[in-house]
Amino acid sequence: MKSVQFSVASRLEGAAAIIYPKGYLNNLSGESLVIECGVYIGKGITKIVVNFSETDLINSIGISMLLQIMEDLRNINGTICCTNMSKFLSDTFEMLGLMQHMLVFPVENDALEYLKTRKS
């Protein structure tokens, strides 16, 4: 099975970092996602939005990466929002019980609106 090489893009919007993973989150290249978030956390950002619109699939390795980000944010009392998730992704997170540990929004803007109105 050939899949697109995984890559990550990101941007800062106010006090929140928005991360755009792209491709199948299934191998070590997913570490770039953890690193990208780490860079923002290192700069004092505590609100991270992960926009999954370009990532439909995830496997156990990807889940592990996501756990790492959730843990890093938890350690600084930060917030993780996940948006634009495919059904496969949300079903998987639901089944694994991850939904309680993240905020889920249909689209990126909803998450940004929410974070704006919320004091951190």
Partner: protein, 396 residues
């Protein structure tokens, strides 16, 4: 689908991920790191470590870890780990031996009589207690790591290494199949009358595919499809599956959902075999287009589908069902023959007859079909029947 079933599927795919990580072309360190990610992702653990025991220095080396303080890992005493015994994952609980900050589960890794290392996990994100299935899965994983580590420690010359990788792949396949079998057993257990049905259908299908000249990879896909073709039945009520009286039209519609359900389940697993999804999805289609779910016909049906429909029907006829007795082997073959072209494919039937005839004549060292047939069958009658069909179909 029940959460339990979904979790089981997730675990199966995790095993596939693990196999991929271990057999990848990556350098050893990357490999072992992927392995750790698979494990922490499977068990939702935020802490994990894979330790390797160096015999010459009698010390434990951390191959990879996340979440632990390295200092804590360095203070582990290998003697104490060895004394825990082999091949059993354990909850550390309050065992003082393992008072490593935050480790909650330890799986010692052994190869034969040799202590190779240990896997540590901890820091669960979700509070739920680990089920016994989880510990079992962890054992399977620990065995996998054992082989990978063992290969690493030996570092033999290239030829040996290739040989070893082949063995490793075999072993992985073995465990993968073990998990599939556990799954098939769950399906068959639900429906008392179809005990071992999945297993037999898988065997029959493989026999046909091999005789057709498929390569090993394709045959393996056929095998997996055979095992999982009825997996969708897990989502259908027991009462309905085990009903003795004929089905009402509504009940029939309900039962017929199972092939689509099987497909929905198998698509969630990233199988290395391309044909599995198609085969399970369409195993109740017919050449004349009167099958379900899509009433596909002729050209739309792949050879894989044609093999499975024949194997499935043959086993269904030769095993007992709640609403009828089983058929003897020659009558079942007669039924297949009667439905050639409308339901079953001539070419596949010819191959099936050929392989069964070979098995009866003792031409195949490891028969796949014969051992499952009724012991009281009259083999000479069956042989004659097969010969007749073979010459008839060969002449076409």
């Amino acid at each position: 689908m029940s959460t339990k079933l979904e979790k089981a599927m997730y675990n199966i795919s995790a095993l596939a991920d693990l196999g991929q990580a271990i057999t990848s072309e990556d350098a050893f360190h990357e490999k072992i790191q992927s392995v750790l990610y698979v494990i922490t992702g499977t068990f939702l653990a935020n802490k994990g470590a894979i330790l390797f025991y160096d015999k010459s220095t009698q010390s434990l080396n951390t191959l990879t870890q996340k979440g632990f303080a390295q200092d804590d890992l360095d203070h582990l005493n290998p003697e104490e780990l060895i004394s825990l015994g082999r091949n059993k994952s354990c909850l550390i609980g309050d065992a003082p031996v393992m008072a490593v900050a935050g480790a909650e589960i330890l799986a010692p890794i052994w190869v034969g009589d040799e202590f190779i290392g240990a896997l540590l996990l901890g820091g669960w994100l979700t509070a739920g207690p680990l089920a016994s299935e989880d510990l079992e899965l962890l054992n399977v994983i620990a065995n996998q790591i054992a082989i990978a580590l063992n290969n690493h420690s030996l570092f033999m010359d290239l030829a040996d290494k290739l040989e070893d990788n082949r063995r490793l792949y075999e072993e992985m396949r073995h465990i993968y199949h073990g998990t599939l079998q556990a799954f098939a057993a769950a399906i068959d257990a639900k429906d008392a009358y179809t005990k071992n049905h999945s297993h037999r259908v898988a065997k029959y299908s493989v026999a046909i595919a091999r005789e057709l000249g498929w390569n090993e990879h394709e045959i393996e896909g056929m095998y997996v499809a055979g095992y999982l073709h009825d997996v969708g039945k897990l989502a259908i009520s027991n009462t309905l599956l085990n009903k003795v009286t004929p089905f009402t039209p509504e009940e029939r519609t309900e039962i017929r959902k199972h092939s689509t359900l099987s497909r929905n389940i198998t698509t969630k697993i990233k199988f290395p075999w391309k044909n599995v999804e198609d085969i399970v999805w369409h195993h109740h289609e017919r050449l004349d287009g009167r099958g379900y779910p899509d009433a596909l016909a002729e050209d739309s049906l792949s050879d894989g589908v044609r093999i499975l429909t024949l194997a499935d029907s043959f086993d269904a006829m030769t095993s007992q069902r709640p609403y009828r007795e089983k058929m003897d082997v020659q009558s079942a073959i007669g039924e297949l023959r009667k439905n050639l072209e409308s339901q079953f494919d001539n070419k596949i039937m010819l191959v099936f007859c050929k392989v069964l005839a070979k098995e009866i004549n003792g031409e195949l060292p490891e028969p796949d079909i014969l051992p499952h047939l009724d012991r009281n069958s009259d083999l000479s009658v069956i042989s004659d029947l097969l010969e007749g069909i073979i010459s008839e179909l060969s002449a076409r």
